[in-house]
Symmetry: none
Subunit: 191 residues, 4 copies
DNA sequence: TATGAATGAGCGTTCATTCAT
DNA sequence: TATGAATGAACGCTCATTCAT
């Protein structure tokens, strides 16, 4: 009984998610409208809000989904033996994060939350990214004077920084990839 | 006549700025409303927009003002001989940037602009920060295998990263300052 | 300058009011929808709410308008020499109040407010009704052992009571008018 | 089986009622939410509606319960020999009716119903109030030119009216009790 | 009887920004 | 420059009620 209902509920939720996914790939995440989604799904607005706290909660799921898919790819790759390989491994992920200003802003905003109970999918995917980077770095190939955890933290800092600079006209001399490569070389292979 | 008008205009602008400054320190930057400012100034809303392109332009000025005041302090300090000194020098600046989520978000967003002509005060203050950091780093005390420019770029990346993590409950084990210190030591003094 | 704007504002407000009035007479007050009004007026929803605090505020004005028009009629009538004349004088007013359950409920709810600053048009029209009734009662024809103010208060109590009973199946043996007449005779001409 | 079910059903209904009663005394009738009641009872929302036609039906029962308890007290009292005694006898009842605007509104709305089959507990308690008042009025002490039924009707009208005025800031010069007393004296003892 | 997901359908909010005067 | 009414365009809320299982 209870289970049957849950099945229906799950179905509705999936419908909403997949329609949102579809719309997002058509018009971009920033242009997604709750009303369009519910209209397409043929459900009431109230239904949307009984499945997702607010629009951001949906975006969090949607974007994290994409991030996780990209992390899946990263996970399957062999260990990174060089900065070039690392950058190559990161680029699909970063490409998505920097694909829309809206996505980048949301990514930053939802990267963390002040309350643990508000930690969402994106924040968790960042933990996963961290873990993957740590695992995939072939320790022999990179500096060993600091912990892998710290290395990973730095890598993420440089990723964010590169994307942010990529959105800035003052630093358009290099693209995200080149800048990141330069920075990561200095970070991972000093001396 | 023209002169009188210009004088009045300048006065209006200054009034708006100083009332905004005042309100911001009372309620925070994020809670500042154009309506409140114009009401306090006794002018119409339209007047506000004939003085500032948009609300962001005002916030850009207001926040950059604070940043520049903090940079003034940094400029007067002696050269940084150690990471500790560097962190100590940066903290007032970072303290302000991390004082409100709204300020941090705006800082990131206005750090750059896609069009050169849209470069604002904050973006320029960042260039200044970059220059100051480069000047103040005593090259003999820090790694010399990379350019000062790159060093500075990394320092800024770690600053942003530390603040972002500071807004996240998952990383509350350390405060901004400690995290930054650890990272900068690894960045500036490898090996 | 200021005046010109005010004129425009007044015009918009009047447009909203007259369209609402029109719709109300077409579909009834209870079926009035804010969206229909703004759609008909061709203005944004925000405009509606900058003219009226909420939907009730509009209804208050609309209903009070009607009440006042009916009070105008009452005011022009000669003094009431008998209960029959009083009832006849009151009936148009009561007819409107009892025309829709929605109207009656709103009438009761907006008859007063706990805060003076929230006193609205309906509440004020009630004060006017009170004054008119006091003026129009030919003192010689009715009981003189109590003040006209008290008489009027009682008349209003019986009006409300009659309408309320009119909405009740248990008391459908008499109509509003008959019941009121009986009650008022006992109230105004005891003995 | 059937018996067991019926027993369970009755128990569920009682549970809902008593939890509702409890919540109402904690937060007031107006703040009572079906959701809270069913959550406290650990049953589904639908269950609520298989026990009560709608929320009003529950409120009708709950409020009528209280009214009847107060009427029980009134019934035990000796006959009213004066207006003062009558007012004193009515006050507990009126105190409850005027305790919350929500209660008063519901009281008025459920005092009658357009269809006899929709007559509920409150409406019946009003009939009872009417009967009690008629019985308790010592005819010798009050006007005898009109029927006790009419007297009672008027008393109820003045009760409603007094409460309504009590909810209005414009008439806060007197409290419910004083106003009622004045009105009833004029109504019951003219001349 | 019980379940609980889904509904409905309108209200009110937000507030930076525009534009005709 | 100044005015301030109007805009826009969606979000989120409400919460009693229904209905398929």
């Amino acid at each position: 009984m209870t289970r049957a209902r849950q099945a229906r509920s799950i179905r509705t939720r999936e419908t909403l998610l997949s329609l949102a996914r579809e719309k997002a790939s058509a018009v971009g995440y920033g242009a997604l409208r709750v009303e369009d989604i519910v209209a397409a799904a043929g459900v009431a607005k109230g239904t949307f809000f009984s499945h997702f706290k607010d629009k951001d909660a949906l975006m969090d799921i949607l974007i994290a989904e994409r991030l996780n898919a990209l992390l899946d790819g990263m996970e399957k790759a062999p260990k990174f033996q060089s900065v070039d390989e690392l950058v190559a491994g990161l680029m699909p992920y970063l490409g998505f994060v920097s694909s829309e200003r809206y996505v980048f802003d949301l990514y930053l905003r939802l990267s963390g939350a002040l309350k643990v109970e508000e930690i969402g999918e994106i924040a968790e995917s960042l933990v996963r990214l961290d873990r993957i980077v740590i695992e995939k770095l072939d320790r022999d190939r990179f500096r060993q004077d600091v912990s892998p955890e710290l290395l990973s933290e730095g890598i993420q800092a440089f990723c964010i920084s590169s994307i942010a600079l990529g959105f800035c006209a003052l630093h358009s001399d290099q693209n995200v990839e080149n800048r990141l490569e330069t920075q990561l070389k200095a970070w991972l292979c000093p001396g």
